[in-house]
Each structure stands twice: as C-alpha cells, then as structure tokens.
Amino acid sequence: MSGPIDDQGLLRLYESMVLIRRAEERLSRLFAGGEIPGFVHLSLGQEAVPAGVCAVLEHADSVASTHRGHGHALAKGVRVEGFFAEIMGRAGGVCKGRGGSMHVADMSIGMLGANGIVGGGYSLALGAAFAHQVKKRPNIAVTFFGDGAMAEGALHECLNLAVLWKLPLLFVCENNGWSEFSPVSRQFAARLSDLGEAFGIGSEHADGTDVEAVFAAATRCVARVRSGAGPYILECRTNRWHGHFEGDPQKYREASELAAARGEDPLVVTAGRLAARGIVEATLADVDARVVARIDAAVEAARADAEPDVAAAFADVYATGEIHA
C-alpha cells in the first residue's frame, strides 16, 4: 500500500470509526442505565488511532490492547454481537462473559485481548512477534499503550528485547494526555521518541485525530516492521473525551482543555474530507444507519442471551478440564 488513499478506502476508515463511536456511545448509555457492571473505559475521541492502525494490519497480525480497548477490538474485527454480549456479561460473549470490557479478545483474528494491567500488553505482543519470527510467518505484532503506561518498566525491557531480537513489533502509543486523573506532564519525564532513539528504534508521530494521517503513518511503520527491519514506534496525539471510566465526572480537567479536546472530532474531520472528495452526505448517513442497526441488533440479542454458565466456567480454569481446588 502506498500513495494517497482512495475514496473507498477512506470511506472504510470512516465506517470503522463510526462503528467504534456508535458502539461506545451505546456502551455509555447502557452503563448509565445499569445494564453494564464493572469498569468501562471509553475511547471516544480516539477512534482514528485504532481505525487507522488496524486498517493496515492483516487478519493474522497480532494486537495486544489496553484497558481502553474497545476500538482496537472492533477495528481488528471482533464481531459486534460477541462484543456487546461480552461487555453485558452474557453467555454468548466473545469470552463467554468471563472477561468483560477489560478483556475482550479474539484469538482467531490475533486479538490477544484488552488488558486490565497497564503495560501488560508490551510483552504479550513481544512474544507474539517472537512466535511470528520463529515460525517464519509474514506477520507482525502491535502493542497499543497509553501515555501513562510509558512509566511502566516493562516498556524498557520490551524495547530492548525487541531490538536485540529484531522482532516484527510495532509500538503504538495513544497519547491522550491523561493517565487516569493526572496529566502526562506529571507522569512521564521523557519523550517516547527519545526513548526509542536510545535503543536505536525509529519513531513516527501522527495526528491521532486525523485517520488519514494515522493510516499513512501506520502504513509506513507496518511496512517497515514487516520487512524484517525490527521494531518501530508510532506515537499518536489524541483526546480522551469521557472520564477515565464511565461515571468519572472529570472534575480535574479545565473546561477549556476539555472543550478543545471535544473540538477535535475525528469523524467530523473525515466527513469533511469525504465531502470535499464529492461523497454525498446521504452516503455517510447510510454508513451510520447500517452501523447503528447492527449495534441495535447486537444489544437486543445480548439482552435476550443467557447468563454465563458456572459449570462451563469451572471447566475452563485449566485446558485439561479437571477441576482443582
């Protein structure tokens, strides 16, 4: 893939973002209505990063995601039905209701899971990249992580090891400026590109509110990594619109900062670009309607679905099936 993206390609990126947006808006409402228990971290405002990066990936490429992982799951191709059923705690969930929002995974498409452990994905992706290398597969692994996760020591270990073993591993930082309730300025004293440089790893920066920019940068980064040249870094500046988790009133954020963040809407940017290319508004409305219909159906199916089975849960503690104590 090279050169500017064509109309259909841009429309697909748009649809991918719309899916994440509408799905998370629905999750937000379901959470507020008491239909989703636990912690729910939304990536509203950040859709361009998962959409842009995952669009470049092959089916069998691996992705290790984060606690804010709905976008990665949907963009990598987790089915909407299994996605909603999982987060709503139903038997038909992609993980049979055992993981929930923080653990949506689908091994059949290399989605190694969202992760409740900040920084937990680096080494999982490293291991997946190692497996691709040993088994001589043409695939790569991507580890998504937030700005706050850069403070975990695991990053240092994995940058180092990825270079030493020349692994097909792409580090993608979603820098939304916040680590829970603290700004990145109080969390991380270095710059990721400098850190990469110290290990001889090159970086690209992309505007993570512009899916075309993310896609273009990811295309270059992924091609490089896939060529066998070793790891690479892609850092995307982006915005977290909602609280750290649903229900967080974000009292720690200045109104002006939040307003500026909300002013950068990846969907609006891309809709404008599509319009400029002569794609009529009705086409975009169609995309939206199709996505919403899929989500409506998935939520209804999840509501009607059974609660997870306890015996089946016991049987899955070990692959050998026996129940220990």
Binding site: A64, C95, K96, R98, G120, K135, E157, L161
Partner: protein, 332 residues
C-alpha cells in the same frame, strides 16, 4: 537401573521435547551460549540453534510475558527464571496473564508454557537466592506446579509439563542438581497430578516433595530401627496434588506428617492438613504434623542456614510426636 544426575535428566527432557516438537523453544538469562546458571541447558544451543535457544537480557517481566504471548501465538516456550526469588519480577505475566488467559477469554485459547526455576537453600546463597515460593503459584487458579525429587521424575514431569496445554511452574531444587538417582532404561513421561509411594509403611504417612522426599526417606530408615514404619509419599505435583493417594494412605496409617523445605505458614502443608482434616477426620489418630523451614528469611551463614532449613531429624521428631500421641478425648 542406571544412575542419572538430576540436572542431566532435565537437560535430556528439554532436548527430547525440542526434538519431538519444533514449536518448543527455550529462552532465559544465560541459557543459550553459557548453558544456564546451573548448567541445565548446556548443549541445547548447539543442538537446536539460535532461533530456538536464546539468551535474554535481565528482564524477567519480559521473559515471562513474552512466553505468554508466544504460547498464545503457536509456540511452546520453556523459559528459565534463574532463581525462584526472581519470580517476583515475573509475577504479573504469570499471575495476571498466563493463569487467566484461557478462563477470561472464554476457553478460546490455552497457554502451553513452562517456567523452570530453582528453589531452595543449602548453598548459603542467602535471603534473596534461596526461597521456596511454590505455594504462591499453587494458590492461583490456572497455574500448575510440579516439584520433582529425583532424576526420573525430573525428566518425566518436564516432558509432561511441556506437552501440557496449561502454564506449568516447574521447580528444581538447587541442592539436587548434582544428585544421582536410579532411572529406568527408557525415561517416561510422569503425569502431572500423580504422587508416588516411595516406601510403604503402616504407622504414619509422610507426605513430602522436592528435597524433603530424601529427608523423609532417611527419616523412615531411622524410624524403622525404632519399630515405626513410615509410608513416604512423594507428592511430585503441588497443583493439582494427588488427594486420593494421600487420603488412601492416611486412612490406613491414621497419622500424617507433611514435610517441605518451604516455611510452613500458609504453605502446601497447611493446605494438605486442612483438606485431610475435612475429609478424613475420623481416620486420624493424632494431630497432623508439619515440617518446614523456620519462619525467617533464609540466612546466609552456614551455621544459621543449617538451623533454619529442615533436615531428616525434624521429620523423625514430627513422626515420633504423632506416634506418641494419646488422645485425651473421652470416648462418646
């Protein structure tokens, strides 16, 4: 039966597993060119090449995490954590990722990986190079834990662990590395979860694992001279453990002593004692005895460490105590 050295048995199991399955890979600190801090992986690099046998930097977190990721992506990694004490730096990957992936992802996957790691004192290695932390891992649903006491089991349990679809913590007692023990002409797989009766006896059941099995056997000899016949059971697997073997034996002998090198507090012996208390209360003719290290960090000085780590004499004392016990309960 020929004799084999413990470390050689582990090495053979690794080599045979790697020959049998190209997906088996080994990595860890100094395991490739140097052949391992305890020379367990010597020769594997030459046999299987640098793709499958790799030295890592000192990055326990990444070693364990990469093993999980690799296991989820089609390999069967066998990684070495140089001392069990350093498992503390690998805990997240083992406890939060490896142990839970199958369950929390709805049975989509399993995590066929093995962590080999040495535990135990006797080398005057001090507080941070001697700990027996196996109970921590046995406490976590999703992990399996095995601890061989002799060369045949070292081989057989490692082959079983590598074939097993679940993450297995394979614990090697450092003081056993150079020990010789008889092995059958053809080494065989030892199923995880099965104990072995090392010596039959009618008076008391001594359950042990790892190096404590040797101490239990030595104690049984001493006790036999006193007319006390101890049945010695080598647990071999800690999680899952062979409850039936222990239960059958305790029902016959009516007495139980559990011996391990780990401290007794909140340990493997505590779990076994509690369970036997629940299941075989009426069979017990004496309180259950436990033998383990003193509840202090393993000290460095030879004299101190000797006092701290259990010996066969402790097992003898615990058995004598059980045998001498007279119930004060009034018959009802």
């Amino acid at each position: 039966m020929p004799d084999m050295i413990f470390r050689q048995a582990i090495n053979s199991a690794l080599a045979d597993a790697m020959s049998a399955d190209a997906d088996v890979v080994c990595f860890g600190e100094d395991v490739a060119a140097p052949g391992g801090a305890f020379a367990v992986t010597r020769g594997l690099l030459a046999k299987f090449g640098p793709e499958r046998v790799r030295d890592t930097p000192i990055s326990e977190n990444a070693i364990a995490g990469a093993a999980v990721g690799a296991a989820l992506s089609g390999l069967r990694p066998v990684v070495e954590i140089m001392f069990m004490d350093f498992m503390t730096l690998a805990m997240d990957a083992l406890v939060n990722q490896a142990a839970k992936a199958r369950f929390m992802f709805g049975g989509q996957c399993s995590v066929p990986m093995v962590v080999r790691t040495p535990h135990g004192g006797g080398l005057n290695a001090g507080p941070q190079h001697s700990q027996c932390l196996e109970a921590w891992f046995a406490h976590v649903p999703g992990l399996k834990v095995v601890v061989p006491s002799n060369a045949a089991d070292a081989y057989g349990l490692l082959r079983a662990a590598i074939i097993d679809p679940d993450p297995v913590i394979y614990v090697e007692n450092k003081a056993l590395y150079s020990a010789k023990s008889p092995v059958p002409e053809t080494l065989a797989i030892v199923p995880i979860g099965s104990a072995a009766t090392m010596r039959p006896g009618r008076d008391v059941t001594v359950v042990a694992y790892g190096i404590a099995v040797r101490q239990a056997l030595a104690a049984a000899q001493t006790l036999a001279a006193e007319g006390v016949e101890a049945e010695v059971i080598d647990l071999r697997s800690i999680q899952p453990w062979d409850r039936q073997a222990v239960l059958d034996s305790v029902r016959r002998t009516g007495r139980l002593v559990i011996a391990h090198e780990a401290v007794t507090a909140f340990g493997v012996g505590a779990e076994i004692a509690a369970w036997v208390g629940e299941q075989a209360f009426d069979s017990l003719r004496a309180p259950i005895g436990r033998v383990g290290s003193a509840f202090m960090p393993t000290p460095f000085a030879k004299s101190l460490e000797r006092h701290c780590v259990p010996a066969d004499t402790h097992v003898v004392a615990a058995v004598r105590c059980a045998v001498a016990y007279k119930s004060s309960r009034s018959p009802s």
